[in-house]
Amino acid sequence: MDFVNLLQRKFIDYSSSLHREGIVDDQFTQLRKLEDENSPHFVMEVASLFFEDCEKLINNMAIALEQKQGVDFKQIDECIHQLKGSSSSIGAMRVKNACIAFRSFSDGQNREGCLRCLQQLSHEYSLLKNKLQTLFRVSVASRCLYVCLVIFCRGNEHAEPFPDVLVFQLEKEIVAAGGSIPRVH
């Protein structure tokens, strides 16, 4: 299956690039290990939750920094703390680092510095979101393509459309038979 290897490599490359660029780190890998039949979309779910959370916190900080009367640095600090915790749990390294940098400015009650950091943070967050969404799209599509290749090679055993759970099981079978699924381990 030369072609299959080709696909696999393409996927791995994309995942690796994410790691290489520091967008995600080992923690993300850990999360992927938590996916199984019972929670086949765990990473996507956690990521969605994180996106919501992150956007909310960034908004709150933006509003806080715009207060004419006086910036509530304590609130900003809390937001950063939360965001740092979440991003570190999910493995979003660059976002986490941006938070750490942000913190020093908020500690120093430096409004200008904070604004700059917030911008940086937003940028990192958008980047992360884009990349992750692409990764998910690619992973779903490739999983299914992968599966249909297996079907062709096996010879018409499964004619019905595949729900995700079956995809998952099939992947297990592939692994058991000595093949491997495009994933970063």
């Binding site: 929670s39 994180f50 703390h81």
Partner: protein, 730 residues
């Protein structure tokens, strides 16, 4: 690839981002000039819409097939019905012939029972008699039914006293009651003392419904409620079709019509709405003192033997309710059909012929009324029939009837709140079934009730103290109970001493946990309370409940008395398999939802379920009511941080009390749960693991200074959790 042939498939993806889509995928290999496969052409076409249309077509075709099948069924049914009619006639004739000799057999058996027999003989005879009775009953039922159906049945019109009838029926049922149930009867004030109707049939109906109720209720109560209602709407249409009365000929035309009427509205929801109009929506509650609306003075043109006396017609509604297994909604339409039981399992388990309800329904409708049912599975059922009765206005004086009823007429017009005509039959075997603890409590209960009653309603009850001779000589107890009847509902019993529960302190801790409304978070999370504890606790409570006739107070999560109802409802969502008792109880104290999600998922992979709270205050509360084997404590949290929380927990462990926590503003747990902590042994030290984000304020030293056992640095990884668990649960 192997075959070198193109192929196409339809594949459906569920995508988080785009929804469910179906693609037609066409793949063909690409060959180089030399004939090697160098790649594939992959084409995907979105055929989601076509697929949907296709499915719809399939559905339509299915529906057509179903319709055709229905038609054939109907045709078949018509043939069967014709056959059935013929068979029924024959059955009725035969039954009559069978009955006479069978009665003979049973009578002889009963006489034999009075002679001297040894034990084995008596046992055999008992079986004979009960079997014979059953068969006789069956035959009578069949005959009744065919009589009613064929229109041969004549209805009587005699004067009788409803309260007496209810009382007697309940008395009979109570005498042969083999289960621990409470029987009660409630006749509203405005039900006349005497009415005219077919007392035999009415008694039959009541007996049947009550015995059904008893049969299908294993705990709780069965009761009868009788009250006056205004003329129901169906009566008008009934009277237009011809009098709904006692003459045979008219009844034949009426019965089928009414049957079709009711058969379309058999579902409980319809009936509820139907009756709701008449009763201001108060159909299904068990309030004891419900009253009907005043008697209407409508007359129906029925010829009666006593036509010369001025008469009014009163519609009386009777509810027979129980707290039994209930009837599933899908079984309701067929309930009144002959030979139908709720399911084959029911028939096997509970016996019976399936005729009773059909007969009742026929009889009720023959008399111009309606029989309906509403039910909820596992909660109970209520069978309701409404019948018209004539009331002869001239017979309002005391007759030469039972002495103990002569007082009633004087109080007939009483307008105080107590219901005249309330009976309650407590389970007879109260005294014998309990341990000494139980019966002493029962005695206390009685004394308590009596005192209450005597101080309030001594007048209202004198006329209702019927003394019923019971076979086991516990007459006195029965009397006392009857005195206490209408007060029992409102009465609250003081909290039982906890020693009465034969449980370990742990269990009581768990029962206490539910009373605290703040435990919503803890309990809603995957709670590791084992079902065994829960169910044994609640089962015992339930039994004791019934035995002592302590009503479940509707507590709004307050900490008083018995917390059965609260206990059950809060733990409903979190029952787990009983084998969870061996797993360690782990509490996670973390405010960040994403961290919670990740940690929980990792713990799940390690095979543990965890409870989650989101700040220190909740953590303290959780530990107050529950014993945990491990606590994972986030350091930085709102409301109360991890360090302070740990300090409070350690102070409790050292001093045995929650004073420090109280100072910090956390209420102490209620006295009853406190007393459960055995004073002799100090509370066990719970391992508390800090989850630090490596900030300056969260150094290892600081953590251990505040009482933490060790720490995990965030982000939480699988490996870290695994090591931690191995350390504390080797």
């Amino acid at each position: 690839m192997d075959k070198g042939l193109p192929a196409k498939r339809e594949i459906t993806f569920e995508t988080e981002l785009f929804g469910s889509k179906t693609f037609l995928i066409y793949v063909e290999p690409v060959f180089s000039k030399a004939g090697e496969t160098i790649g594939i052409n992959y084409m995907g076409m979105d055929i989601t819409d076509q697929v949907r249309k296709r499915e719809r077509m399939i559905k339509i075709r299915e529906e057509i097939a179903v319709q055709k099948a229905k038609e054939t069924e109907l045709n078949r049914t018509i043939h069967i019905t014709e056959e059935t009619m013929r068979a029924k006639q024959m059955l009725a004739t035969m039954s009559h012939e069978i009955r006479s000799p069978l009665s003979g057999v049973v009578s002889m058996a009963e006489i034999l029972a009075t002679t001297k027999l040894d034990r084995e003989q008596r046992q055999l005879l008992d079986v004979m008699i009960s079997s014979g009775d059953l068969v006789l009953q069956l035959i009578n039922d069949i005959l009744d039914l065919s009589k009613v159906e064929s229109g041969v049945m004549k209805l009587e019109a005699t004067k009788f006293r409803p309260r007496e009838v209810v009382k007697h029926v309940l008395q009979t049922a109570a005498a042969s009651l083999r289960k621990i149930l409470t029987l009660e009867g409630n006749v509203a004030d405005d039900v006349p003392i005497e009415v005219i109707g077919d007392v035999l049939r009415i008694r039959q109906i009541l007996t049947n419904l009550i015995s059904n109720a008893i049969k299908f209720t294993h705990e709780g109560k069965v009761g009868v409620k009788l009250y006056v209602v205004p003329e129901p709407p169906f009566a008008k249409e009934g009277s237009q079709n011809g009098s709904a009365g006692s003459t045979a000929n008219q009844s034949t035309t009426n019965v089928p019509k009414e049957e079709t009427c009711t058969s379309t509205s058999q579902t409980s929801s319809d009936q509820r709405g139907f009756h709701g109009k008449k009763h201001e929506g108060s159909c299904q509650d068990r309030s004891q003192n419900e009253r009907g609306t005043p008697v209407t003075n409508g007359t129906i043109d029925v010829t009666e033997e006593q036509a010369e006396l001025p008469e009014t017609t009163v519609w009386i509604r009777c509810d027979v309710y129980d707290t039994g297994i209930g009837i599933p909604e899908n079984a309701l339409p067929t309930l009144f059909k002959k030979y139908m039981q709720v399911s084959a399992d029911h028939a096997r388990k509970y016996g019976g012929t399936g005729l009773g309800l059909a007969i009742c329904k026929q009889l009720v409708e023959l008399m111009g009324g309606r029989l309906t049912v509403s039910s909820q599975v596992h909660c109970g059922s209520t069978f309701t029939f409404i019948l018209p009765y004539k009331v002869s206005l001239s017979c309002d004086h005391s007759d030469d009837v039972d002495d103990d009823l002569s007082d009633m007429d004087d109080h007939g017009a009483t307008d105080d709140d107590a219901t005249a005509g309330f009976f309650q039959f407590q389970p007879r075997t109260l005294g014998s079934l309990f341990s000494s603890n139980g019966s002493s409590r029962t005695q206390n209960l009685l004394a308590h009730n009596i005192g209450y009653v005597n101080s309030h309603k001594i007048n209202g009850f004198s006329e209702n103290c019927y003394s019923f001779p019971t076979s086991n000589g516990q007459t006195k107890e029965m009397d006392l109970f009857e005195d206490a009847c209408s007060v029992a509902e409102a009465l609250e019993i003081s909290p039982e001493p906890e020693s009465s529960f034969s449980h370990s302190p742990d269990h009581d801790n768990e029962s206490a946990i539910c009373r605290d409304e703040h435990h919503h978070n803890v309990v809603n999370a995957e709670n590791k309370v084992s079902t065994r504890d829960v169910s044994s606790c609640s089962e015992t409570s339930r039994e004791v409940d019934v035995k002592e006739k302590i009503t479940e107070p509707q507590l709004p999560a307050e900490r008083q008395g018995r917390s059965d109802s609260g206990f059950q409802s809060t733990l409903n969502s979190s029952r787990e398999a009983s084998n969870s008792i061996s797993k360690p109880k782990i509490l996670l104290v973390e405010d960040n939802k994403i961290n919670v999600m990740v940690t929980r998922s990792m713990m799940k992979q390690l095979g543990h379920t965890i409870d989650v709270v989101s700040n220190g205050v909740e953590a303290v509360r959780a530990i107050q009511y529950h014993s945990y084997d491990l606590v994972l404590m986030d350091v930085c949290m709102p409301v109360m941080d991890g360090l302070q929380t740990t300090r409070l927990i350690r102070s409790f462990e050292e001093t045995g009390n929650w004073d420090e926590a109280a100072k910090a503003g956390i209420e102490k747990p209620s006295p009853s749960s406190d007393s459960l902590q055995p004073d002799c042994t100090p509370p066990k030290r719970i391992p508390i693991i800090a989850m630090t984000a490596n900030a300056l304020s969260e150094s290892a030293d600081e953590c251990s200074a505040n009482g933490m056992d060790s720490f995990i640095s965030k982000p939480v990884t699988f490996q870290k959790l695994k090591e931690c668990l191995e350390q504390y649960f080797p």
